[in-house]
Amino acid sequence: MLKMHNIRKVYRTDTIETHALRDFSLEVEEGEFVSVTGPSGSGKTTFLNIAGLLETATDGQYLLDGVDISKLGDSDRSRQRNEKIGFIFQGFNLIPDLNLFDNIDVPLRYRGFNSKERRRRIEHVLQLVGLSARAKYLPAQLSGGQQQRIAIARALAGEPRFLLADEPTGNLDSEMAAQVMELLESINSAGTTIIMVTHDPELAARARRNIQIVDGRVSDSKAAPVAPVAEPA
Protein backbone atom coordinates (compact mmCIF):
# COMPACT_ATOMS: atom_id res chain seq x y z
CA MET A 1 0.00 0.00 0.00
CA LEU A 2 2.99 2.30 0.63
CA LYS A 3 6.05 1.75 -1.49
CA MET A 4 9.11 4.00 -1.46
CA HIS A 5 12.02 3.30 -3.75
CA ASN A 6 15.36 5.15 -3.61
CA ILE A 7 13.82 8.27 -2.17
CA ARG A 8 16.19 11.19 -1.80
CA LYS A 9 15.40 14.47 -0.10
CA VAL A 10 17.81 17.40 -0.24
CA TYR A 11 17.22 20.71 1.47
CA ARG A 12 19.09 23.55 -0.19
CA THR A 13 19.85 26.98 1.15
CA ASP A 14 22.17 29.48 -0.54
CA THR A 15 25.22 27.96 1.07
CA ILE A 16 24.35 24.51 2.37
CA GLU A 17 22.91 21.28 0.95
CA THR A 18 21.47 18.95 3.54
CA HIS A 19 20.68 15.36 2.59
CA ALA A 20 17.78 14.45 4.86
CA LEU A 21 17.02 11.14 3.16
CA ARG A 22 19.19 9.14 0.78
CA ASP A 23 18.45 5.89 -1.05
CA PHE A 24 15.50 5.44 1.24
CA SER A 25 13.42 2.39 0.36
CA LEU A 26 10.52 0.96 2.29
CA GLU A 27 7.36 -1.07 1.79
CA VAL A 28 4.44 -1.10 4.16
CA GLU A 29 1.58 -3.54 3.67
CA GLU A 30 -2.08 -2.93 4.30
CA GLY A 31 -3.00 -3.37 7.99
CA GLU A 32 0.54 -3.07 9.34
CA PHE A 33 1.44 -1.13 12.47
CA VAL A 34 4.96 0.16 11.86
CA SER A 35 6.99 2.19 14.30
CA VAL A 36 9.81 4.40 13.07
CA THR A 37 12.66 5.24 15.42
CA GLY A 38 16.00 6.91 15.09
CA PRO A 39 18.15 9.61 16.63
CA SER A 40 17.29 13.28 16.29
CA GLY A 41 18.12 14.59 12.84
CA SER A 42 18.13 11.12 11.32
CA GLY A 43 15.33 11.98 8.88
CA LYS A 44 12.28 10.60 10.71
CA THR A 45 10.23 13.76 10.26
CA THR A 46 11.30 14.12 6.63
CA PHE A 47 10.19 10.55 6.01
CA LEU A 48 6.88 11.29 7.70
CA ASN A 49 6.39 14.48 5.67
CA ILE A 50 7.04 12.69 2.40
CA ALA A 51 4.94 9.65 3.35
CA GLY A 52 2.13 12.03 4.36
CA LEU A 53 2.45 14.08 1.15
CA LEU A 54 3.31 17.19 3.15
CA GLU A 55 6.53 17.47 1.15
CA THR A 56 7.75 16.06 -2.12
CA ALA A 57 10.88 13.99 -2.55
CA THR A 58 13.80 15.38 -4.53
CA ASP A 59 14.26 12.02 -6.27
CA GLY A 60 12.94 8.51 -6.24
CA GLN A 61 9.58 6.85 -6.54
CA TYR A 62 6.73 6.86 -4.06
CA LEU A 63 3.63 4.80 -4.73
CA LEU A 64 0.71 5.26 -2.39
CA ASP A 65 -2.10 2.81 -3.02
CA GLY A 66 -0.60 2.28 -6.46
CA VAL A 67 -0.67 6.01 -7.29
CA ASP A 68 2.66 7.55 -8.30
CA ILE A 69 2.76 10.58 -6.02
CA SER A 70 5.62 12.32 -7.84
CA LYS A 71 3.31 12.71 -10.84
CA LEU A 72 0.57 14.54 -8.88
CA GLY A 73 0.08 18.29 -8.71
CA ASP A 74 -0.47 20.21 -5.52
CA SER A 75 -4.29 19.99 -5.59
CA ASP A 76 -4.26 16.26 -6.27
CA ARG A 77 -1.80 15.71 -3.43
CA SER A 78 -4.14 17.69 -1.17
CA ARG A 79 -7.00 15.42 -2.19
CA GLN A 80 -4.95 12.25 -1.62
CA ARG A 81 -3.95 13.55 1.80
CA ASN A 82 -7.51 14.35 2.65
CA GLU A 83 -8.96 11.05 1.53
CA LYS A 84 -6.30 8.48 2.38
CA ILE A 85 -4.23 9.82 5.23
CA GLY A 86 -5.04 10.69 8.81
CA PHE A 87 -2.48 12.70 10.76
CA ILE A 88 -1.75 12.59 14.47
CA PHE A 89 0.79 15.18 15.58
CA GLN A 90 2.92 15.44 18.67
CA GLY A 91 1.51 18.91 19.45
CA PHE A 92 -2.08 17.74 18.73
CA ASN A 93 -2.46 20.63 16.22
CA LEU A 94 -6.07 21.35 16.97
CA ILE A 95 -7.27 24.76 15.76
CA PRO A 96 -7.62 26.83 18.94
CA ASP A 97 -10.46 29.07 17.66
CA LEU A 98 -12.74 26.16 16.79
CA ASN A 99 -14.64 23.91 19.18
CA LEU A 100 -14.05 20.15 19.10
CA PHE A 101 -16.94 19.48 16.74
CA ASP A 102 -15.71 22.09 14.26
CA ASN A 103 -12.11 20.85 14.59
CA ILE A 104 -13.11 17.34 13.54
CA ASP A 105 -15.25 18.94 10.82
CA VAL A 106 -12.27 20.66 9.11
CA PRO A 107 -11.03 17.75 6.92
CA LEU A 108 -14.60 16.57 6.29
CA ARG A 109 -15.52 19.96 4.80
CA TYR A 110 -12.49 19.77 2.49
CA ARG A 111 -13.72 16.32 1.51
CA GLY A 112 -17.02 17.84 0.41
CA PHE A 113 -19.39 15.72 2.51
CA ASN A 114 -22.84 17.17 3.13
CA SER A 115 -23.67 18.42 6.61
CA LYS A 116 -25.72 15.37 7.57
CA GLU A 117 -22.91 12.99 6.65
CA ARG A 118 -20.36 15.15 8.45
CA ARG A 119 -22.47 15.22 11.61
CA ARG A 120 -22.87 11.43 11.53
CA ARG A 121 -19.13 10.87 11.20
CA ILE A 122 -18.22 13.46 13.84
CA GLU A 123 -20.66 11.98 16.36
CA HIS A 124 -19.34 8.50 15.62
CA VAL A 125 -15.66 9.36 16.18
CA LEU A 126 -16.43 11.47 19.25
CA GLN A 127 -18.08 8.43 20.71
CA LEU A 128 -15.14 6.26 19.71
CA VAL A 129 -12.70 8.44 21.66
CA GLY A 130 -15.18 8.88 24.52
CA LEU A 131 -15.61 12.66 24.32
CA SER A 132 -19.16 13.01 22.98
CA ALA A 133 -20.19 15.20 25.88
CA ARG A 134 -17.50 17.79 25.13
CA ALA A 135 -18.26 18.55 21.48
CA LYS A 136 -18.79 22.25 22.13
CA TYR A 137 -15.63 22.68 24.23
CA LEU A 138 -12.63 24.56 22.93
CA PRO A 139 -9.30 22.67 22.77
CA ALA A 140 -7.83 24.81 25.57
CA GLN A 141 -10.52 23.49 27.93
CA LEU A 142 -9.24 19.91 27.60
CA SER A 143 -6.29 18.01 29.06
CA GLY A 144 -3.45 16.99 26.76
CA GLY A 145 -4.67 13.40 26.59
CA GLN A 146 -8.17 14.54 25.69
CA GLN A 147 -6.80 16.87 23.02
CA GLN A 148 -4.83 14.02 21.50
CA ARG A 149 -7.95 11.86 21.49
CA ILE A 150 -9.77 14.63 19.61
CA ALA A 151 -6.87 14.81 17.17
CA ILE A 152 -7.19 11.03 16.67
CA ALA A 153 -10.93 11.44 16.19
CA ARG A 154 -10.24 14.10 13.56
CA ALA A 155 -7.78 11.76 11.83
CA LEU A 156 -10.30 8.89 11.84
CA ALA A 157 -13.40 10.82 10.79
CA GLY A 158 -12.47 10.65 7.12
CA GLU A 159 -11.96 6.85 7.41
CA PRO A 160 -8.43 7.03 6.00
CA ARG A 161 -6.50 4.02 4.66
CA PHE A 162 -3.62 4.84 6.97
CA LEU A 163 -2.69 6.91 9.94
CA LEU A 164 0.57 8.77 10.27
CA ALA A 165 1.44 9.52 13.86
CA ASP A 166 4.30 11.84 14.80
CA GLU A 167 5.32 11.24 18.41
CA PRO A 168 1.65 10.86 19.34
CA THR A 169 2.43 10.43 23.04
CA GLY A 170 5.40 12.80 23.18
CA ASN A 171 3.53 15.48 25.11
CA LEU A 172 1.57 13.15 27.38
CA ASP A 173 2.19 11.58 30.76
CA SER A 174 2.56 7.81 30.90
CA GLU A 175 -1.02 7.10 31.88
CA MET A 176 -2.47 9.17 29.06
CA ALA A 177 0.17 7.82 26.68
CA ALA A 178 -0.96 4.28 27.50
CA GLN A 179 -4.59 5.21 26.76
CA VAL A 180 -3.62 6.73 23.43
CA MET A 181 -1.54 3.67 22.52
CA GLU A 182 -4.43 1.38 23.34
CA LEU A 183 -6.66 3.48 21.14
CA LEU A 184 -4.16 3.27 18.26
CA GLU A 185 -3.86 -0.47 18.70
CA SER A 186 -7.59 -0.95 18.55
CA ILE A 187 -7.76 1.23 15.44
CA ASN A 188 -5.04 -0.88 13.84
CA SER A 189 -6.78 -4.11 14.72
CA ALA A 190 -9.86 -2.74 12.99
CA GLY A 191 -7.80 -2.67 9.77
CA THR A 192 -6.21 0.79 9.51
CA THR A 193 -2.53 0.85 8.60
CA ILE A 194 -0.51 2.91 11.08
CA ILE A 195 2.96 4.38 10.78
CA MET A 196 4.17 5.90 14.02
CA VAL A 197 7.33 7.92 14.52
CA THR A 198 8.56 7.78 18.10
CA HIS A 199 11.54 8.25 20.34
CA ASP A 200 10.15 5.89 22.92
CA PRO A 201 11.57 2.36 22.51
CA GLU A 202 8.82 0.90 24.67
CA LEU A 203 6.12 2.27 22.38
CA ALA A 204 8.12 1.30 19.30
CA ALA A 205 8.24 -2.22 20.57
CA ARG A 206 4.45 -2.37 20.77
CA ALA A 207 4.24 -1.98 16.99
CA ARG A 208 4.32 -5.10 14.86
CA ARG A 209 7.31 -3.90 12.92
CA ASN A 210 10.03 -1.45 13.80
CA ILE A 211 12.11 0.54 11.36
CA GLN A 212 15.19 2.40 12.43
CA ILE A 213 16.39 5.36 10.42
CA VAL A 214 19.99 6.46 10.76
CA ASP A 215 21.53 9.16 8.60
CA GLY A 216 18.61 9.28 6.22
CA ARG A 217 18.59 5.56 5.49
CA VAL A 218 16.69 2.55 6.79
CA SER A 219 19.32 0.91 8.95
CA ASP A 220 17.29 -1.84 10.48
CA SER A 221 13.86 -3.28 9.92
CA LYS A 222 12.60 -6.06 12.08
CA ALA A 223 9.29 -7.70 12.52
CA ALA A 224 7.25 -7.99 15.68
CA PRO A 225 9.54 -8.52 18.64
CA VAL A 226 7.92 -10.75 21.21
CA ALA A 227 8.83 -8.53 24.11
CA PRO A 228 9.76 -4.87 24.56
CA VAL A 229 13.43 -4.36 23.71
CA ALA A 230 15.42 -1.33 24.73
CA GLU A 231 16.88 0.44 21.70
CA PRO A 232 19.37 3.29 21.65
CA ALA A 233 17.46 6.61 21.58
Binding site: T45, L48, N49, G52, L53, L54, E55, D74, S75, S78, R79, R81, N82, E83, F87, F89, Q90, G91, N93, I95, P96, D97, L98, N99, D102, D105, V106, P107, R109, Y110, R111, G112, R154, G158, D166
Partner: protein, 402 residues
Protein backbone atom coordinates in the same frame (compact mmCIF):
# COMPACT_ATOMS: atom_id res chain seq x y z
CA UNK B 1 -18.18 24.37 0.54
CA UNK B 2 -18.89 27.35 2.74
CA UNK B 3 -17.13 27.57 6.05
CA UNK B 4 -19.26 30.44 7.28
CA UNK B 5 -20.29 29.11 10.67
CA UNK B 6 -16.85 28.03 11.98
CA UNK B 7 -15.36 31.12 10.35
CA UNK B 8 -17.80 33.36 12.20
CA UNK B 9 -17.04 31.67 15.51
CA UNK B 10 -13.29 32.01 14.87
CA UNK B 11 -13.82 35.69 14.02
CA UNK B 12 -15.88 36.13 17.14
CA UNK B 13 -12.87 35.01 19.16
CA UNK B 14 -10.82 37.76 17.49
CA UNK B 15 -13.64 40.26 17.59
CA UNK B 16 -11.63 43.31 18.68
CA UNK B 17 -9.29 43.33 15.70
CA UNK B 18 -12.10 42.41 13.33
CA UNK B 19 -14.35 45.11 14.74
CA UNK B 20 -11.62 47.75 14.53
CA UNK B 21 -10.97 47.08 10.88
CA UNK B 22 -14.73 47.05 10.19
CA UNK B 23 -15.05 50.37 12.01
CA UNK B 24 -12.22 51.80 9.94
CA UNK B 25 -14.06 50.73 6.80
CA UNK B 26 -17.34 52.14 8.14
CA UNK B 27 -15.86 55.55 8.91
CA UNK B 28 -14.09 55.60 5.55
CA UNK B 29 -17.34 54.80 3.77
CA UNK B 30 -19.15 57.53 5.73
CA UNK B 31 -16.51 60.15 4.94
CA UNK B 32 -15.92 59.07 1.35
CA UNK B 33 -19.63 58.98 0.48
CA UNK B 34 -20.34 62.35 2.06
CA UNK B 35 -17.30 63.84 0.36
CA UNK B 36 -18.70 62.22 -2.77
CA UNK B 37 -21.97 64.10 -2.29
CA UNK B 38 -20.07 67.40 -2.21
CA UNK B 39 -17.88 66.41 -5.15
CA UNK B 40 -20.82 65.33 -7.29
CA UNK B 41 -22.76 68.48 -6.37
CA UNK B 42 -19.80 70.62 -7.41
CA UNK B 43 -19.22 68.61 -10.57
CA UNK B 44 -22.88 69.04 -11.50
CA UNK B 45 -22.64 72.74 -10.75
CA UNK B 46 -19.59 73.14 -12.97
CA UNK B 47 -21.24 71.11 -15.72
CA UNK B 48 -24.43 73.25 -15.71
CA UNK B 49 -25.15 74.74 -19.12
CA UNK B 50 -24.53 78.48 -19.20
CA UNK B 51 -26.92 79.02 -22.11
CA UNK B 52 -24.05 80.66 -24.00
CA UNK B 53 -21.52 79.65 -26.65
CA UNK B 54 -18.78 80.11 -24.04
CA UNK B 55 -15.86 78.61 -25.97
CA UNK B 56 -16.29 81.03 -28.91
CA UNK B 57 -16.74 84.21 -26.87
CA UNK B 58 -14.28 87.04 -26.22
CA UNK B 59 -14.81 90.00 -23.93
CA UNK B 60 -13.22 93.43 -24.39
CA UNK B 61 -13.09 96.03 -21.64
CA UNK B 62 -11.88 99.49 -22.55
CA UNK B 63 -11.35 102.82 -20.83
CA UNK B 64 -10.73 105.94 -22.88
CA UNK B 65 -7.76 108.04 -21.75
CA UNK B 66 -9.47 111.37 -22.53
CA UNK B 67 -11.91 112.82 -19.97
CA UNK B 68 -14.25 114.06 -22.69
CA UNK B 69 -14.99 111.16 -24.99
CA UNK B 70 -17.72 110.46 -27.51
CA UNK B 71 -18.70 107.06 -26.11
CA UNK B 72 -21.80 106.58 -28.31
CA UNK B 73 -19.79 107.41 -31.42
CA UNK B 74 -16.91 105.16 -30.37
CA UNK B 75 -19.25 102.23 -29.69
CA UNK B 76 -21.00 102.66 -33.05
CA UNK B 77 -17.65 102.81 -34.87
CA UNK B 78 -16.26 99.82 -32.96
CA UNK B 79 -19.37 97.74 -33.67
CA UNK B 80 -19.12 98.50 -37.39
CA UNK B 81 -15.48 97.51 -37.30
CA UNK B 82 -15.92 94.35 -35.22
CA UNK B 83 -18.95 92.98 -37.09
CA UNK B 84 -17.02 93.35 -40.34
CA UNK B 85 -13.89 91.49 -39.22
CA UNK B 86 -13.20 88.06 -40.73
CA UNK B 87 -13.92 85.25 -38.27
CA UNK B 88 -16.33 87.37 -36.21
CA UNK B 89 -19.90 86.06 -36.01
CA UNK B 90 -21.35 89.02 -34.12
CA UNK B 91 -20.67 91.52 -31.33
CA UNK B 92 -22.55 93.82 -28.93
CA UNK B 93 -21.78 96.45 -26.28
CA UNK B 94 -22.77 95.80 -22.67
CA UNK B 95 -22.22 96.87 -19.05
CA UNK B 96 -20.90 93.61 -17.60
CA UNK B 97 -19.30 90.35 -18.71
CA UNK B 98 -21.50 87.30 -17.96
CA UNK B 99 -20.27 84.48 -15.62
CA UNK B 100 -17.24 86.62 -14.72
CA UNK B 101 -18.19 87.13 -11.09
CA UNK B 102 -18.77 90.82 -11.76
CA UNK B 103 -22.31 92.07 -12.35
CA UNK B 104 -25.29 94.02 -11.11
CA UNK B 105 -28.59 92.88 -9.68
CA UNK B 106 -31.83 94.54 -8.71
CA UNK B 107 -35.14 93.63 -7.14
CA UNK B 108 -38.29 93.41 -9.27
CA UNK B 109 -41.99 92.98 -8.58
CA UNK B 110 -45.06 91.79 -10.42
CA UNK B 111 -47.07 94.70 -8.92
CA UNK B 112 -46.25 98.44 -8.97
CA UNK B 113 -44.89 100.43 -5.98
CA UNK B 114 -43.66 97.44 -4.02
CA UNK B 115 -40.63 97.42 -1.70
CA UNK B 116 -40.88 94.10 0.15
CA UNK B 117 -40.56 90.66 -1.39
CA UNK B 118 -40.28 90.43 -5.15
CA UNK B 119 -37.52 88.64 -7.00
CA UNK B 120 -33.91 89.51 -7.70
CA UNK B 121 -32.23 89.31 -11.10
CA UNK B 122 -28.97 90.24 -12.74
CA UNK B 123 -29.53 92.94 -15.33
CA UNK B 124 -27.60 93.63 -18.51
CA UNK B 125 -27.66 96.53 -20.95
CA UNK B 126 -27.48 95.13 -24.46
CA UNK B 127 -28.37 95.80 -28.08
CA UNK B 128 -30.39 93.58 -30.48
CA UNK B 129 -27.24 91.65 -31.46
CA UNK B 130 -26.84 90.10 -27.99
CA UNK B 131 -28.90 86.96 -28.69
CA UNK B 132 -26.90 86.02 -31.75
CA UNK B 133 -23.57 86.99 -30.19
CA UNK B 134 -23.98 85.02 -26.98
CA UNK B 135 -25.70 82.15 -28.79
CA UNK B 136 -28.79 82.38 -26.58
CA UNK B 137 -32.02 80.60 -27.41
CA UNK B 138 -35.12 82.78 -27.67
CA UNK B 139 -37.96 80.48 -26.62
CA UNK B 140 -40.85 82.98 -26.70
CA UNK B 141 -41.58 86.46 -28.07
CA UNK B 142 -39.11 88.52 -30.04
CA UNK B 143 -35.75 90.26 -29.99
CA UNK B 144 -35.39 94.01 -29.36
CA UNK B 145 -35.77 96.31 -32.39
CA UNK B 146 -33.31 99.06 -33.31
CA UNK B 147 -36.05 101.60 -32.54
CA UNK B 148 -36.27 100.37 -28.93
CA UNK B 149 -32.59 101.17 -28.24
CA UNK B 150 -32.03 103.98 -25.77
CA UNK B 151 -28.74 105.84 -25.42
CA UNK B 152 -28.30 107.93 -22.30
CA UNK B 153 -25.79 109.58 -20.00
CA UNK B 154 -24.59 108.00 -16.77
CA UNK B 155 -26.68 110.26 -14.50
CA UNK B 156 -29.94 110.26 -16.43
CA UNK B 157 -33.01 108.46 -15.15
CA UNK B 158 -33.93 105.44 -17.21
CA UNK B 159 -37.51 104.28 -17.43
CA UNK B 160 -37.37 100.96 -19.23
CA UNK B 161 -40.36 100.06 -21.40
CA UNK B 162 -39.41 96.63 -22.69
CA UNK B 163 -37.23 93.80 -21.46
CA UNK B 164 -36.20 90.27 -22.38
CA UNK B 165 -35.90 87.91 -19.41
CA UNK B 166 -34.71 84.38 -18.79
CA UNK B 167 -37.17 81.57 -18.26
CA UNK B 168 -35.87 81.16 -14.68
CA UNK B 169 -36.67 84.77 -13.85
CA UNK B 170 -40.13 84.49 -15.46
CA UNK B 171 -40.89 81.42 -13.36
CA UNK B 172 -39.68 83.19 -10.21
CA UNK B 173 -41.75 86.29 -10.85
CA UNK B 174 -44.87 84.60 -12.28
CA UNK B 175 -44.79 81.01 -10.96
CA UNK B 176 -46.62 78.60 -13.24
CA UNK B 177 -47.59 81.34 -15.72
CA UNK B 178 -46.41 82.30 -19.17
CA UNK B 179 -44.38 85.52 -18.60
CA UNK B 180 -44.47 86.76 -22.22
CA UNK B 181 -46.54 89.96 -22.56
CA UNK B 182 -46.72 90.48 -18.79
CA UNK B 183 -45.42 93.59 -17.05
CA UNK B 184 -43.06 93.90 -14.08
CA UNK B 185 -41.83 96.81 -11.97
CA UNK B 186 -38.53 97.97 -10.47
CA UNK B 187 -38.25 98.46 -6.70
CA UNK B 188 -40.73 101.13 -5.45
CA UNK B 189 -41.66 102.28 -8.96
CA UNK B 190 -44.80 102.28 -10.99
CA UNK B 191 -43.49 102.37 -14.58
CA UNK B 192 -44.41 99.00 -16.15
CA UNK B 193 -41.81 97.06 -18.15
CA UNK B 194 -43.23 94.73 -20.78
CA UNK B 195 -41.68 91.30 -21.26
CA UNK B 196 -41.27 91.05 -25.04
CA UNK B 197 -39.06 87.96 -25.15
CA UNK B 198 -38.02 84.95 -23.09
CA UNK B 199 -34.54 83.41 -23.24
CA UNK B 200 -34.13 79.72 -22.44
CA UNK B 201 -31.12 80.18 -20.18
CA UNK B 202 -28.37 82.63 -19.19
CA UNK B 203 -26.40 81.89 -16.05
CA UNK B 204 -25.93 85.59 -15.16
CA UNK B 205 -22.98 87.12 -13.35
CA UNK B 206 -22.32 84.88 -10.36
CA UNK B 207 -22.14 81.11 -10.86
CA UNK B 208 -22.35 80.43 -7.10
CA UNK B 209 -25.43 82.61 -6.56
CA UNK B 210 -28.59 80.82 -5.48
CA UNK B 211 -30.53 82.90 -8.00
CA UNK B 212 -28.04 82.32 -10.81
CA UNK B 213 -30.05 82.20 -14.01
CA UNK B 214 -32.50 84.99 -13.11
CA UNK B 215 -31.57 87.64 -15.65
CA UNK B 216 -33.14 90.74 -17.26
CA UNK B 217 -31.88 92.40 -20.48
CA UNK B 218 -32.62 96.02 -21.45
CA UNK B 219 -32.07 97.64 -24.88
CA UNK B 220 -29.83 100.35 -23.52
CA UNK B 221 -26.42 101.94 -23.93
CA UNK B 222 -25.22 104.09 -21.06
CA UNK B 223 -22.33 106.38 -21.88
CA UNK B 224 -20.17 105.54 -18.87
CA UNK B 225 -16.46 106.09 -19.32
CA UNK B 226 -15.70 102.44 -19.55
CA UNK B 227 -17.46 99.98 -21.77
CA UNK B 228 -17.48 96.30 -22.51
CA UNK B 229 -17.99 94.37 -25.74
CA UNK B 230 -18.83 90.73 -26.20
CA UNK B 231 -17.58 89.20 -29.46
CA UNK B 232 -18.34 85.78 -30.85
CA UNK B 233 -15.82 84.13 -33.16
CA UNK B 234 -16.42 81.41 -35.71
CA UNK B 235 -15.91 77.96 -34.11
CA UNK B 236 -12.21 77.23 -33.60
CA UNK B 237 -11.08 80.77 -34.51
CA UNK B 238 -11.40 82.44 -31.13
CA UNK B 239 -7.71 82.93 -30.40
CA UNK B 240 -6.91 84.24 -33.86
CA UNK B 241 -9.91 86.57 -33.75
CA UNK B 242 -8.85 87.81 -30.32
CA UNK B 243 -5.47 88.89 -31.69
CA UNK B 244 -7.06 90.56 -34.69
CA UNK B 245 -9.64 92.39 -32.54
CA UNK B 246 -6.99 93.78 -30.23
CA UNK B 247 -4.91 94.99 -33.16
CA UNK B 248 -7.83 96.56 -35.08
CA UNK B 249 -9.40 98.26 -32.01
CA UNK B 250 -6.05 99.78 -31.06
CA UNK B 251 -5.55 100.87 -34.64
CA UNK B 252 -8.92 102.57 -34.80
CA UNK B 253 -8.40 104.51 -31.58
CA UNK B 254 -5.09 104.33 -29.79
CA UNK B 255 -6.19 106.59 -26.94
CA UNK B 256 -7.72 103.95 -24.75
CA UNK B 257 -6.78 101.04 -22.54
CA UNK B 258 -7.98 97.67 -23.86
CA UNK B 259 -8.27 94.45 -21.98
CA UNK B 260 -9.24 91.25 -23.78
CA UNK B 261 -10.16 87.93 -22.25
CA UNK B 262 -11.84 84.72 -23.36
CA UNK B 263 -15.13 83.88 -21.65
CA UNK B 264 -13.83 80.34 -21.04
CA UNK B 265 -11.12 81.84 -18.84
CA UNK B 266 -13.65 83.97 -16.95
CA UNK B 267 -15.84 80.95 -16.37
CA UNK B 268 -12.86 78.91 -15.21
CA UNK B 269 -11.93 81.65 -12.74
CA UNK B 270 -15.50 81.72 -11.44
CA UNK B 271 -15.46 77.98 -10.83
CA UNK B 272 -11.95 77.95 -9.40
CA UNK B 273 -12.98 77.36 -5.78
CA UNK B 274 -15.36 74.62 -6.88
CA UNK B 275 -12.63 73.01 -8.94
CA UNK B 276 -10.22 73.18 -6.02
CA UNK B 277 -12.85 71.63 -3.75
CA UNK B 278 -13.42 68.79 -6.24
CA UNK B 279 -9.69 68.13 -6.51
CA UNK B 280 -8.99 68.29 -2.78
CA UNK B 281 -11.93 66.08 -1.84
CA UNK B 282 -11.14 63.59 -4.60
CA UNK B 283 -7.60 63.40 -3.25
CA UNK B 284 -8.97 62.87 0.27
CA UNK B 285 -11.20 60.07 -1.03
CA UNK B 286 -8.29 58.41 -2.83
CA UNK B 287 -6.01 58.81 0.17
CA UNK B 288 -8.53 57.43 2.65
CA UNK B 289 -9.25 54.45 0.43
CA UNK B 290 -5.52 53.83 0.13
CA UNK B 291 -4.95 54.10 3.89
CA UNK B 292 -7.80 51.76 4.72
CA UNK B 293 -6.43 49.31 2.14
CA UNK B 294 -3.03 49.48 3.85
CA UNK B 295 -4.76 48.73 7.16
CA UNK B 296 -6.40 45.68 5.65
CA UNK B 297 -3.16 44.49 4.08
CA UNK B 298 -1.45 44.91 7.46
CA UNK B 299 -4.14 43.13 9.41
CA UNK B 300 -4.42 40.28 6.91
CA UNK B 301 -0.64 39.77 6.92
CA UNK B 302 -0.63 39.89 10.72
CA UNK B 303 -3.44 37.35 10.96
CA UNK B 304 -1.83 35.09 8.43
CA UNK B 305 1.52 35.17 10.23
CA UNK B 306 -0.27 34.49 13.48
CA UNK B 307 -1.98 31.50 11.90
CA UNK B 308 0.89 30.04 9.85
CA UNK B 309 0.73 26.89 11.91
CA UNK B 310 -3.04 26.69 11.56
CA UNK B 311 -2.76 27.12 7.79
CA UNK B 312 -0.17 24.33 7.73
CA UNK B 313 -2.56 22.12 9.71
CA UNK B 314 -5.42 22.88 7.32
CA UNK B 315 -3.17 22.08 4.36
CA UNK B 316 -2.10 18.81 6.05
CA UNK B 317 -5.76 17.94 6.58
CA UNK B 318 -6.45 18.30 2.87
CA UNK B 319 -7.01 22.00 2.14
CA UNK B 320 -5.89 22.99 -1.35
CA UNK B 321 -4.12 26.30 -1.96
CA UNK B 322 -7.39 27.68 -3.31
CA UNK B 323 -9.20 26.64 -0.09
CA UNK B 324 -6.72 28.65 1.95
CA UNK B 325 -6.87 31.79 -0.23
CA UNK B 326 -10.64 31.58 -0.32
CA UNK B 327 -10.78 31.29 3.45
CA UNK B 328 -8.91 34.55 3.98
CA UNK B 329 -10.77 36.38 1.22
CA UNK B 330 -14.10 35.24 2.62
CA UNK B 331 -13.07 36.21 6.12
CA UNK B 332 -12.06 39.62 4.82
CA UNK B 333 -15.32 39.86 2.91
CA UNK B 334 -17.28 39.21 6.12
CA UNK B 335 -15.41 41.98 7.93
CA UNK B 336 -15.90 44.30 4.96
CA UNK B 337 -19.63 43.49 4.88
CA UNK B 338 -19.93 44.38 8.55
CA UNK B 339 -17.95 47.58 8.00
CA UNK B 340 -20.06 48.56 5.03
CA UNK B 341 -23.30 47.91 6.90
CA UNK B 342 -22.11 50.13 9.75
CA UNK B 343 -20.80 52.63 7.17
CA UNK B 344 -24.25 52.93 5.58
CA UNK B 345 -25.76 53.95 8.90
CA UNK B 346 -22.99 56.43 9.78
CA UNK B 347 -22.98 57.90 6.26
CA UNK B 348 -26.74 58.53 6.37
CA UNK B 349 -26.43 60.09 9.81
CA UNK B 350 -23.69 62.48 8.70
CA UNK B 351 -25.61 63.26 5.52
CA UNK B 352 -28.71 64.14 7.52
CA UNK B 353 -26.61 66.58 9.55
CA UNK B 354 -25.14 68.04 6.36
CA UNK B 355 -28.64 68.46 4.89
CA UNK B 356 -30.10 70.22 7.91
CA UNK B 357 -27.06 72.24 9.02
CA UNK B 358 -25.28 73.06 5.77
CA UNK B 359 -28.11 72.65 3.23
CA UNK B 360 -26.11 70.03 1.32
CA UNK B 361 -28.05 67.75 -1.03
CA UNK B 362 -29.33 64.41 0.26
CA UNK B 363 -27.21 61.30 -0.37
CA UNK B 364 -28.25 59.59 -3.60
CA UNK B 365 -28.55 55.81 -3.10
CA UNK B 366 -26.47 55.19 -6.23
CA UNK B 367 -23.56 57.21 -4.88
CA UNK B 368 -23.59 55.40 -1.53
CA UNK B 369 -23.71 52.04 -3.31
CA UNK B 370 -20.85 52.97 -5.64
CA UNK B 371 -18.72 54.11 -2.69
CA UNK B 372 -19.51 50.82 -0.92
CA UNK B 373 -18.57 48.87 -4.05
CA UNK B 374 -15.33 50.85 -4.34
CA UNK B 375 -14.40 50.08 -0.74
CA UNK B 376 -15.37 46.43 -1.04
CA UNK B 377 -13.15 46.14 -4.11
CA UNK B 378 -10.31 47.97 -2.38
CA UNK B 379 -10.61 45.70 0.63
CA UNK B 380 -10.69 42.51 -1.45
CA UNK B 381 -7.77 43.82 -3.51
CA UNK B 382 -5.87 44.54 -0.31
CA UNK B 383 -6.51 41.05 1.05
CA UNK B 384 -5.75 39.33 -2.25
CA UNK B 385 -1.95 39.36 -2.13
CA UNK B 386 -1.62 38.22 1.50
CA UNK B 387 -4.32 35.59 0.87
CA UNK B 388 -2.45 34.25 -2.14
CA UNK B 389 0.77 34.24 -0.14
CA UNK B 390 -0.94 32.32 2.65
CA UNK B 391 -1.64 29.55 0.16
CA UNK B 392 2.12 29.09 -0.24
CA UNK B 393 2.58 28.12 3.40
CA UNK B 394 3.82 24.52 3.30
CA UNK B 395 1.65 21.77 4.76
CA UNK B 396 4.86 20.52 6.40
CA UNK B 397 4.52 23.50 8.78
CA UNK B 398 2.12 21.25 10.67
CA UNK B 399 4.88 18.83 11.69
CA UNK B 400 7.33 21.50 12.79
CA UNK B 401 7.32 22.09 16.50
CA UNK B 402 7.27 25.86 16.96
Amino acid sequence: MLELKPMLSALWRNKTSAFLIALQLALTLAIVSNAGVIVSERVEKIARPTGMQVEDLISVTFMPIAQEYDMAGAVAADMDLLRGLPGVVDAFPTNQIPVSGSGSASRYFSEPNQEIGGEVANYYQVDPNFINTLGLELVAGRNFTAAEMDVMGPNENYDARVAIITRDFGEALFPGEEPLGKFFFPLGENNPIEIVGVIDRHLGAWVGWQKAGQVVFYPLLIKTNHKRYMIRAEPGQRDAVMKLVEEKLAQRDANRVLQLETLSRDLEQSYMSDNVMVKVLSAVIALLTFIVSLGIVGLTIFWINQRRKQIGIRRALGATRANISRYFLLENGLIAALGIAMGFAIAMLINRMMVTSFSQPAMPAGLLLSCAALLLLASLGAALVPALRAANISPATATRSV
